[in-house]
């Protein structure tokens, strides 16, 4: 297990470094004059030169990249002052440290991702199990037609309709907003409920279809038939034997989906005006705030890479046939 983790961590590090290098190069080497983006509309050549000097943009890109990565590990000194580790540089648009903004925004994204993921995992696999248990009956047929429509729903449509119906139409709920769970758990829950439900809708269809077909496959396996033949209860066989076998691929998909949500549930955040990482990425795109964008990209990519490792480790716990090498 330790050797496996060490190897995977090393691989993950290589991938992260490569992605950061590519992204950095794309952001800071391709545009003719990155400083122009920081400088605004009325920009003099002197101002550009000053920005270049202050941000170290006058150096070759590989050197800049080295300073950037070193800054994340050990902090960095700019002419404007010291930037403590982890230093992701200063935003082009508000001159604040990027890391501070990311730390500020992350709890919102985390809340959306965890809550939404819990809903779609439980409801999605639950519906899939029901459909498999009642295979061929009206329940199964109803669910499969629903999942066809569910698969076609988009957050930017369902979200707006949900707001129109639940908030401005029936006044059942307030507009979604983020309240820290440490301050007011009830407000946190009610404020996040609509985003969770809407976010999970687009995933539920996928999870229920996958669980259903995996369960049907598993229920036809020899060991399941044997267990039934020796007199084990239908329920025990269904959950202890078949479900366990079907779980591994579901966990894989779940880990990857959750990992990419941590990088920002962009469309959900945008639809409900929640200020998470995704929203931060979008606003830094419209302000061409490259350092902030770079920081969010790195966080998102790290989340995906870490999620992949966790998935592989969990896989081995669920399925004893998988050997970690």
């Amino acid at each position: 297990m330790l050797r496996f983790l060490a190897r995977r961590l090393l691989g993950a590090l290589v991938i992260t470094v490569l992605i950061s290098a590519i992204t950095f190069f794309l952001f800071f080497a391709l545009p003719a004059e990155p400083a122009l983006m920081s400088c605004g509309k009325n920009c003099t050549p002197d101002a550009v030169a000053l920005i270049n000097k202050n941000l170290g943009l006058d150096q070759p890109v590989p050197v800049q990249y080295w300073h950037y990565m070193a800054g994340i590990v050990a902090g960095r000194d700019f002419t404007v002052g010291h930037c403590p580790a982890p230093c992701f540089g200063y935003s082009f648009s508000n001159q604040q440290p990027v890391w501070g903004t990311i730390v500020d925004r992350f709890p919102t994204t985390l809340s959306i991702a965890l809550g939404g993921a819990a809903v779609f995992l439980v409801v999605g696999t639950g519906l899939g199990l029901l459909a498999a248990a009642f295979r061929g009956t009206w329940i199964d047929k109803l669910f499969s037609s629903l999942s066809l429509v569910g698969n076609a729903l988009q957050i930017y449509f369902v979200g707006v309709v949900a707001l129109a119906v639940l908030v401005s139409g029936l006044h059942w709920m307030d507009n979604p907003a983020y309240h820290p769970i440490t301050e007011d758990p009830v407000k946190w829950f009610t404020g996040m409920l609509i985003p969770w439900l809407v976010l999970s809708i687009i995933f539920i269809a996928n999870y229920s279809r996958m669980t259903r077909s995996l369960m049907i496959e598993q229920l036809a396996e020899d060991h399941v038939r044997t267990a039934r033949a020796k007199g084990m209860g239908r329920r025990t066989v269904f959950f202890r034997y078949a479900f366990r076998g079907a779980l591994a691929p579901v966990v894989t998909l779940f880990g990857i989906d959750l990992g990419s949500l941590f990088g920002g549930a962009i469309i959900t955040e945008f639809t409900f005006s929640l200020h998470g990482l995704g929203r931060l990425a979008v606003s830094s795109v419209s302000e061409t705030d490259l350092p902030t964008l770079m920081g969010v990209m790195l966080v998102g990519c790290t989340a995906i890479v870490v999620a992949n490792i966790v998935v592989d480790a969990t896989y081995a716990l669920i399925d004893p046939r998988v050997r970690l090498a």
């Binding site: 449509f157 707006v160 990425a281 969010v296």
Partner: protein, 320 residues
């Protein structure tokens, strides 16, 4: 032997059999008709506007008093639907919703189709190369695919669009619409082909060990001939199925990008941007977002059903 029996025993090519199976699948034919309808609408958008007598950019509500109230919302009920404006008019600007939607579908489908074609071509080229060449080539291409898959896709779509814009246009200047379209296609393409490539690589790996490929090799066929004549005909099914699944997802991604404001901008009509506008108006006029929303659901459902039917037609053994 009677003539009737002769007729019954005519040989049919696999293609003909596939076509027959597809035609018998009623859901498949219906969804194909719906999909064809959307493409027809996209192609004939200027014609539809001409016949209908309106265009997507004229601000009818501002030009003519009596269509919008003082708050900028349509006076007529249900978003201003009338005999003249079939799908109503847009709040604030008072543009015609039907022509906006039709032209928006045209923009979105153009981008999605171009990106899908490019992704399929790249996926086929790289997947088949990796699978057939094997060894070091396969390893390197595999790692390259892994690397691209590790990019957070939604975030990358958003982050890389301005970079590509900056590549063509100096910051501060307007980006022309055609460049925005090209950029979106480029971004969707670069991060969209890996799934298909990986799938095809696996298929080629198992196909190239089969007897008919061995036989072709023994007779001295060139690798190019083996790939085009022996391998590709066996790969049409996954390619077509993946392409029919890819296109609607490209449409929804492109719409998402326009929704959050990094895709196509005003005044070019765009399917996704209608959702962004609708999200501003929903409290007073929900009708506006209804038409693009329902159209998109119908489109995606029809495309997914078509994908299932295509798979069934090509491979009658699959069961759903």
């Amino acid at each position: 032997m009677t003539t009737v029996e002769q007729a019954a025993l005519t040989g049919r090519s696999p293609g003909e059999l596939t076509w027959r199976r597809f035609r018998r699948d009623r859901a498949g034919v219906a969804s194909a008709v719906v999909v064809a309808f959307f493409f027809l609408v996209a192609l004939a958008a200027p014609l539809i506007s001409a016949v209908y007598g309106k265009d997507p950019t004229t601000t009818y509500g501002l030009d003519e008093p009596g269509l919008l109230n003082t708050y900028g919302y349509p006076v007529a009920p249900n978003g201003g639907i009338s005999g003249r404006f079939w799908f109503g008019i847009e709040p604030t600007l008072g543009r015609d919703v039907l022509t906006q939607l039709v032209h928006g579908i045209r923009t979105s489908l153009l981008i999605a189709t171009a990106a899908t074609v490019l992704c399929v071509l790249t996926g086929v080229a790289i997947g088949v190369t990796a699978g057939y060449a094997g060894g070091r080539t396969d390893y390197l291409l595999g790692r390259f695919i892994d690397l691209l898959l590790a990019f957070p896709s939604q975030l990358s779509f958003i982050a890389f669009t301005p970079v590509v814009y900056a590549l063509f246009v100096t910051p501060g200047k307007e980006t022309p619409t055609y460049l925005r379209v090209v950029t979106l296609i480029l971004v969707l393409w670069v991060l969209g082909w890996m799934g298909l490539a990986r799938l095809l690589r696996g298929q080629v790996l198992s196909l190239r060990e089969r007897e008919f490929v061995e036989a072709a090799k023994v007779t001295g066929a060139s690798p190019w001939r083996i790939i085009t004549r022996e391998l590709l005909p066996n790969l049409w099914t996954p390619i077509l199925v993946q392409a029919t699944l890819m296109l609607p997802s490209m449409v929804t991604i492109e719409a998402g990008l326009s929704f959050i404001g990094v895709g196509i901008l005003e005044p070019t009509p765009d399917w996704g941007r209608m959702f962004a506008n609708g999200a501003h108006y929903y409290e007073s006029d929900i009708t506006y977002i209804f038409f693009p929303g329902v159209a998109m659901i119908v489109f995606v459902v029809a495309f997914n059903l078509l994908g299932d039917s295509v798979r069934d037609a090509f491979d009658p053994r699959t069961t759903r």
